[in-house]
């Protein structure tokens, strides 16, 4: 494999005087699963949001399949090919579950509804929500909403999925159902970058773990290395705090 699908080079991002990213670089191979860990405020969510330019970057480059994202056209293509799952789901409340899922394929890609609907139904089946296709998001639990959000992202047939703390807004008993769906996707070979605090998920799924603190990558490696013999003191103290 080793086909680089996404490369970030020296990303810098500031909010006013606050420098959130101080030169972050890494690349992602097709099929690879990266989990980004780090304390809150370390810039890990900002990295994800800079990839699809929900945040403007101050400095640095993003390459998608060897092509630098330099124009709105290229950005739109990148966004169509990189799905994002948000902490607070961000489902469209005025649309039913099915309408949420077909929104992208039909109104961004121009797929005929006749094709999009059976495809969306198969995705809802995959996330275990076939019976909810005609309800509105607010009638669903957080876990169900997040699974719909995953189906909505999958509907674009993305090359990469970005997960921005997908279980942080959920009641503890609902976390499992979302992680299960994510694990299934990982098993099927989806390329993923996941920002999360779920350490077990990181151990089970990640090919590589990136630990960030104060806007830089402190260290990265396989979950085995990061969790059992981290090199840096900052990584050690973070892991100690989080895995009691």
């Amino acid at each position: 494999m080793s086909e680089k699908i996404l490369t970030l080079v020296n990303l810098h991002k500031s909010f006013g005087d606050l420098e959130v990213l101080k030169g972050v670089s890494f690349s992602l191979e097709k099929g690879e699963k990266i989990v980004i860990l780090g304390p809150s405020g370390s810039g890990k969510s900002t990295v994800l949001r800079c990839i699809n330019r929900l945040e403007k970057i101050n400095h640095g480059q993003v390459f998608f399949k060897d092509e630098e994202i330099t124009s709105q056209t290229k950005l739109t293509r990148l966004r169509m090919n990189i799905g994002m799952v948000f902490q607070r789901f961000n489902l469209f409340p005025h649309k039913t579950v099915l309408e949420n899922v077909i929104e992208g394929p039909v109104h961004v890609k121009g797929m005929p509804k006749k094709e999009a609907i059976p495809f969306a139904e198969s995705l809802l089946k995959q996330v275990g929500l076939s019976d909810k296709r005609d309800v509105y998001p607010k009638q669903l639990s957080g876990g169900q909403q997040q699974r719909v959000a995953i189906a909505r992202s999958l509907a674009m047939k993305p090359d990469i999925l970005l997960f921005d703390e997908p279980t942080s807004a959920l009641d503890p008993e609902l976390v499992g159902e979302v992680l299960d769906v994510m694990k299934e996707l990982a098993d099927e070979g989806m390329t993923m970058i996941v920002v999360t605090h779920e350490m077990q998920f990181a151990r089970d799924v990640a090919d590589r773990v990136i630990f960030m603190d104060e806007g830089v990558i402190v260290e990265e490696g396989t979950p085995d290395v990061i969790f059992t013999s981290p090199k840096h003191e900052r990584t050690r103290s973070f892991l100690k705090r989080i895995i009691h």
Binding site: L54, T76, G83, M84, F86, R88, E103, Y136, R152, M156
Partner: protein
């Protein structure tokens, strides 16, 4: 002096005709106000400084001056600069431009009430800003602002009576003309008031219906 409403019976068609003109001015002004109001609201939330400044200045000037003065500038003032507007054009333009300022503020408040995650979710699907505005943001904004919007429609309908002062024979002026002929101010003005009340009530009923409809739509 005894009240005598019978003198109005003969002249009811004049008043109903006035109602039609009132509705015509109001609807045209509202349509104009909606279009310009949407543009002003988009300018106001835009990151382009001159557009934002223009919108703010416009709203400031319109809200800070009386509608009557605005209307007189258009109808009596502009001819001095060589721009002659018909009374109907001046009336619709004046009331429309005035309403636009208020509508834009209503729309802006609706837009900023929408969670920023909605636009982000749409953009992350690759949707363009205009498309996301139309397909994702606008329907949610409409639900939020529908009651304030109908309220503004009612205000505009009542404000249209000011158009009588630039010689448009809408309901108010139609009433005045009857008074010049009959000197029955009380009878005429109460009937005029009743007719305004009926028109506004129709809007209020519509407003209740819309609110109820939105409530049951699960959002």
């Amino acid at each position: 002096m005894k009240l005598d409403y019978s003198i109005i019976i003969d002249r009811i068609p004049n008043l109903l005709w006035g109602c039609l003109v009132t509705l015509e001015i109001s609807l045209a002004a509202l349509a104009l106000g909606m279009v310009i109001g949407i543009v002003l609201a988009l300018f106001r939330i835009s990151s382009v400084k001159p557009l934002k400044a223009f919108s703010m200045a416009y709203i400031w000037a319109v809200r800070g001056t009386p509608l009557l003065v605005q209307l007189f500038i258009l109808y009596f003032g502009l001819p001095q600069l060589g721009v002659e507007l018909s009374s109907m054009t001046a009336g619709i333009l004046g009331i429309g431009l005035n309403t636009a300022a208020y509508i834009s503020e209503i729309i802006r408040s609706g837009i900023i009430a929408i969670d920023s995650g909605q636009m982000e979710a749409a953009e992350s699907l690759g949707m363009s800003y205009p498309k996301a505005m139309i397909r994702i943001i606008a329907p949610q904004v409409m639900r939020i602002i529908a009651p304030s919007l109908v309220n503004q429609f009612i205000i505009t309908l009542k404000n249209s009576s000011i158009a009588s002062l630039v010689t448009i024979t809408e309901l108010m002026r139609a009433g005045n003309q009857i008074i010049y002929a009959t000197f029955r101010s009380f009878e005429v003005y109460t009937v005029v008031a009743l007719l305004y009340l009926i028109m506004c009530s129709a809007l209020m009923v519509l407003s209740k219906y819309v609110e109820k409809k939105l409530d049951t739509d699960n959002v």
